[in-house]
Amino acid sequence: MLRYILQRGALALAVAFTVSLATFFLLNVATDPAYAIAGEDATPEMLAQIRDTYGLDRPLATRYFDWLGGVLTGNFGESYYWNKPVAELVASRAPTTIALALSALSVTILISIPLGAWAALKPNSWADRFALGVAVSAQAVPNFWLGLIMIILFSVTIPIFPVSGDDTWLHFVLPAFVLGASSVPAVMRLTRTGLIEVMDSDYIRTARSKGFRGMPLLTRHAMRNAILPVVSVLAVQLGQKFGGSVITESIFAINGLGRLALESILGSDIPTVQMLIFVFALVFVAMNLLADILNAALDPRIRIG
């Protein structure tokens, strides 16, 4: 097990480094960070000053190896935009994104699992069709659109929640819903399929013959087996919430990693983009690993090797 975790950890690092290398060269080839920093009306004097300040006039390879050397000694460099260590910047933004991702995942669970169970108990009924409709709609609606509609409905028309910001828990309600909604289809459909399969199995027939019906049958017997694939999807979805927070955080002006990523990409803040890609890649691989471990814990038949 330990060996497996170490292997996966090494793989995550390799992925992160490869992505960082590609990002570094692509960002530098696609744009000159000095222009991004100076803005639309950059004069040659401003550009020269900026290149000198940030060492952008040095060869690309030198700059990459400098960065890499720093990373290996735990120094991710200084942000061009924020003039402070990138690690400090990312650490200060991470709690907000973690809070948002976990709230969004809670929204996903609260909506999709009951909805999936309801659909599974009455397959091909109007309830099932309704659940399918919810899933298709949630899949089809883009985040930014849903975000703005929620703001118009619940912040402007009926002013219940604040429009933007991240000061109180109320600020997280709409963004968590928007971010969570995008995962509802996958989790709901998987819950439904898993339950329908399990409901046909022998041990459920046995349970029924013992007199179990309805919710007790569902929660005590069927759900434990049906939930296995759902758990691993939820772990992966949690990883995706980090990357997926880019648009949601920007719309709701939440100062998390997603908004930082967007700003850094638009501003060609290469050190920050690179560390964020590192973090996102590691979170994603870690979540996959967590899914495998959780599956093993829930189902003794699964042996990780």
Binding site: E40, Y81, W82, P159
Partner: protein, 509 residues
């Protein structure tokens, strides 16, 4: 049906009850809430460049001189008087009783320190490039008097003093251990402007409070809160919900539609930004290319319907322009050859130039896509086969630096400087990659306007330069821009002719 009606009524009631509350949010607590899409990461304008930072600095900082946006005349600000000893020596006297936000009294030592710091080797200030063009050193001659020694004659000295250098207390850029700390003022700003910083969360929020010891006219509004809201949709929603009183850079269609709502007022003011086509007359992309022929460039000029572009695509107070600068800028004469919209004449000129069957041309653009498409369509209409390359600004900049662009739709805001120097130098000086004219004589003329301080002489030089640019049709000037604002209807926000938003002049109705 009944349920639907009840729900709709409830929604309308909720909306209606929200409206008055929203409209008066800022007025009630005397707090002007400003939304900016661009992040504020650094409060020290000596170290920043963008428009949003200029807006912030107008609130927090003081300068030696002020520029009257109406008359473009300089008035003493922290300075009380000034006198040119000779062409390269300027004496400046300071006003008494100017106080920094930390309570210290401003002295000649502070002013000398600020200027000498900016041009010093270790400063790395964004203002350095502009100031070191002319400043040799500053010498303190008394408690409240200074002498500026210039490297050479330079006509924009007072302008740079009014706009580029914000005054700091002596030692502002030194850490406690005496070492250099160029970002010392980035988050803990000590200025001498009408508002002082109460709190600052970089990239999130700046809270300002009226500075009661301010030496000048006190602003009407007590508090200003500047929030960074990256999404324009969120800004609109905040305005509708009463969370924001002022937003700018609003697209025309959004400004017009929201301006009709009771919670918002649409203001459209002038902007120093102008749009233009730059044509590769020098032949950097193709030595014998069609654009090296003056008749072809004139044909391009005649092909463009600037009036309609300005009226329908840019809107607001945008106007067509026929001169390669903003008519509000000093020295920007409109009395030069113009090329009115005349597609037939354009076709005839192409015929004369030997391109009666047209030619293929890559046209690069990075903003205002509808205008870029209209330009391409106008050129297509006279027979030029345009390949519109609509890209990110950074890509255009890079391609231009590598001399790969035959023609581009550019814009320039002159950093809010209402002087032709602010647009001419960067576009027609020899060392700039924006200069596609390849005209060495023109470069000399443009630079010579910066070597005399005599306004009449400068006007004459610019007239000569602008006439050459027009005759040679190095550019096809297009239109001036307008700036669209959405504001709380209770807010009185005066618009400046130079397009710079001065929030300290705002008041409640």
């Amino acid at each position: 049906m009944l349920k639907t009606t009840v729900a709709a009524t409830a929604l309308c009631t909720a909306f209606a009850s929200a409206v008055p509350h929203a409209a008066q949010a800022g007025k009630n607590d005397d707090t002007l809430r400003v939304a900016l899409a661009e992040e504020i990461l650094n409060l020290d304008y000596n170290y920043t460049t963008k428009r949003e930072y200029i807006i912030m600095a107008e609130l927090t900082d003081a300068t030696l001189f002020d520029l009257d946006p109406e008359t473009q005349e300089f008035a003493p600000a922290v300075a009380s008087d000034w006198e040119w000893v000779d062409d390269t020596t300027l004496n400046v006297d300071l006003r008494e009783g100017v106080t920094f936000h930390d309570g210290s009294e401003l002295s000649a030592e502070d002013v000398a320190y600020t200027y000498n710091w900016i041009v010093s080797d270790e400063s790395e200030a964004q203002a350095k490039g502009t100031i070191e063009r002319w400043l040799e050193t500053v010498e303190v001659t008394g408690d409240l008097s200074l002498r500026f020694h210039l490297k050479s004659v330079y006509p924009l000295v007072l302008r740079d003093m009014a706009q580029r250098v914000k005054l700091r207390p002596e030692g502002a850029y030194e850490a406690e251990d005496g070492s250099v700390d160029e970002s010392a003022m980035a988050t803990d700003l000590v200025g001498a402007g009408p508002y002082k910083v109460v709190s600052f969360e970089p990239g999130q929020e700046v809270v300002l409070e009226r500075f009661e010891e301010y030496w000048g006219e006190a602003p009407a509004i007590e508090n200003v809160v500047v929030r960074n809201l990256p999404d324009i949709g969120t800004q609109q929603a905040e305005l509708m919900a009463g969370g924001v009183d002022w937003m700018f850079k609003v697209p025309l269609d959004v400004a017009e539609s929201l301006g009709n709502m009771p919670q918002a007022a649409h203001l459209s003011g002038p902007d120093l930004r102008v749009g233009f086509l730059v044509l590769d007359a020098a032949g950097y992309t193709d030595e014998d290319g069609p654009l090296t022929n003056v008749k072809v460039r004139q044909a391009v000029n005649h092909a463009l319907n600037r009036e309609e572009m300005a009226e329908y695509l840019i809107g607001g107070s945008a106007k067509p322009i026929y001169t390669p600068c903003h008519p509000a800028q000093f020295g920007c004469t409109e009395d030069i050859p113009a090329y009115p919209y005349d597609p037939e004449k354009s076709k005839a000129l192409l015929e004369e130039a030997g391109y009666g069957d047209g030619f293929q041309m890559d046209l690069w653009a990075y903003r205002d896509k509808p205008a870029a498409e209209a330009i391409a369509a106008d050129l297509e209409a006279v027979g030029i086969d345009v390949n519109l390359r609509y890209v990110k600004l950074a890509s255009l900049n890079q391609a231009r630096a590598q001399r790969e662009i035959p023609a581009y739709f550019g814009t320039w805001g002159s950093g809010g400087t209402a002087d032709t120097a602010a647009i001419a130098r960067v576009h027609f000086a020899g060392d700039s990659d924006r200069n596609l004219s390849g005209d060495g004589q023109l470069t000399e003329t443009v630079l010579s306007a910066e070597q005399t301080a005599d306004p009449e002489e400068r006007k004459k030089i610019y007239e000569e330069a602008l006439t050459t640019i027009a005759e040679q049709a190095y550019w096809a000037p297009l239109f001036s821009y307008s700036q669209n604002y959405l504001v709380n209807p209770d807010l009185e926000f005066p618009l400046s002719p130079d397009g710079l938003p001065r929030l300290d002049k705002a008041s409640w109705k």
